[in-house]
Symmetry: C2
Subunit: 317 residues, 2 copies
């Protein structure tokens, strides 16, 4: 990374994501300062530059990352009414957040990173190594220079930056995160009243239900905040399960079911796909969004963007 691209960053909220970002930006030579509402968290982060208040944290920051949960974005935004730097967030639903920051200098973001624990103590400077980090890009609305500033910042700490509209993001995470949480919960419910099943449960149950241990409030907030996209993806799941249920009624259920399950195995075995197509693309909204839609991402920002897209059968058309 060339020095001229080092950015003065404030990170508001020092949980798992904010704490890891503070560590990672610091480790990569950025000027960064952290703030957390909780004095104990600020104390835990004292090896890094921290501020006691939001105004003190943001006063010199060109970019401010709001690493707070969704419900906290509204009050924090109020405290940033006079801030004219670039704002971004890290929450998992992008449509409602885009509305919240309408008219502000804002680019929505979402790193696809997580762990069971969410405290500063669990944070790590390497959390974003190879992590897909969505940066929202709304044609005609988002400032491309601001988007590029963040893409440069996050690729500098090893993230793969994925361009997507808020709507595309929300539909994708419904499929790969929100609905998986609902299926894990439905699977866990099958233990109710069946202690023998609990004794026999092994790998397929353990992995299929892992995220069901998440607090109900968090899962409901994710799914309820993205209801339309979740319902659309859930409709696909219900249609598949219904078709397979009917196949089990056949005279030869094995023969009836086999072809219906084949595509799922191909899709899973093909995921995450080989990374074999380095491409250099122009830094314009349409090219970036086409890359994201094709399953690609940005690994380096020069005068043009340098991206990778997975698999050889996907064309960013």
């Amino acid at each position: 990374m060339c020095d001229s691209h080092r950015v003065n960053v404030a990170v508001i909220g020092l949980g798992l994501i904010g704490g890891s970002l503070l560590r990672a930006l610091h480790a990569h030579g950025h000027q960064v300062i952290g703030y957390d509402l909780d004095p104990e968290t600020r104390h835990a982060a004292r090896a890094y530059p921290t501020a006691e208040t939001i105004p003190a944290a943001i006063q010199d920051a060109e970019t401010t990352v709001l690493a707070v949960p969704l419900p906290a974005l509204h009050p924090v935004r109020t405290q940033l009414a006079d801030y004219d730097g670039l704002l971004t967030d890290v929450t998992s639903v992008k449509g409602p957040v885009a509305k919240l920051f309408e008219g502000r200098r804002f680019v929505g973001g979402h790193p696809m990173a997580g762990k069971e624990s969410s405290s500063f103590a669990a944070s790590e400077s390497t959390l974003f190594d190879g992590c897909a980090w969505v940066l929202c890009l709304e044609p005609g609305t988002t400032s491309l220079p601001d988007w590029v500033t963040l893409a440069r910042l996050y690729t500098s700490i090893g993230a793969r930056v994925v361009p997507a509209t808020a709507d595309e993001h929300d539909k994708a995470v419904a499929r790969i995160s929100h609905v998986p949480h609902l299926l894990a919960a439905a699977l866990s419910n099958l233990l109710e009243g069946h202690p023998l099943a609990g004794t026999l449960a092994a790998g397929s149950f353990r992995d299929g239900t892992r995220v069901a241990a998440t607090r109900a409030e968090l899962v409901a907030a994710m799914c309820g905040g993205n209801a339309a996209a979740v319902q659309s993806a859930l409709a696909g799941v219900l249609a598949d399960l219904g078709a397979w249920d009917r196949a089990l009624d056949a005279d030869d259920p094995v023969a009836a079911l086999t072809p219906l399950l084949r595509r799922a195995g191909e899709l899973r075995r093909g995921w995450p796909g080989a990374v074999d197509v380095p491409v250099e693309i122009a830094l314009d909204g349409d090219s970036l969004l086409a890359l994201g839609r094709a399953g690609g991402w940005i690994t380096r920002v020069e005068e043009s963007a340098f991206g990778l897209r997975p698999g050889s059968d996907r064309n960013p058309a």
Copy 2:
């Protein structure tokens, strides 16, 4: 283990389960001999006693473990028409197998152990350490001394022996193995036509779909061979998902969804449960089945059985 309980065992089929059993029994001082239809597999297992034919393998065996897949049980049974020793199997559906061996000296078994790979090369002597191994017990039909012989054999290699009827077993595995495979497949299908989703997919998708990579033929055989129990468990999943889908239509979907998801989290966080109630139980069918139904298992067979049941809220009543 006291010497008088060492058993002369033949293991027919030396894949992951049979190979691991050959190694484990050998390591624990049992007289054991293995056989596989495939000469290359026999060659791979040459460090252990092996036979070139089924008759040679079983001629001195008091107990013969059929560690072959479900479709191979029928032809193997034909080759064992004159065998008068104790027979057991390791397949994942117990009702149809019980029918197949009706009138024979047979106790159905199913070790809840598995790995991605299924060859002798993948087998390990420690595969069954702490593994739940179902042994089927049909009141009035199963010979209790034969059941006890196998319970002693498998506890001697570290397995937790779980008593259950074939019907109880099949209903339980529908819940914790067969339906999880179907949900994983439905989740994988959500990638179809959504390369962006594939790029963003991380932990919850990876774990929720892991078993979807299984060959369609195997999943269809498991589910189709246990159709009624799978349909019954699937009905519970469909009811839950339908209710949650309707909650997402509410004016406040987060508030509507939260209480509906709470029980699933409790169940998952409570699984597999603390092992805190060692109990000594009588070696009779009713006591053993009551232990299994309560989520318990056998760890040691003496004159009476010594078992453990998980959790303090479960009474083997």
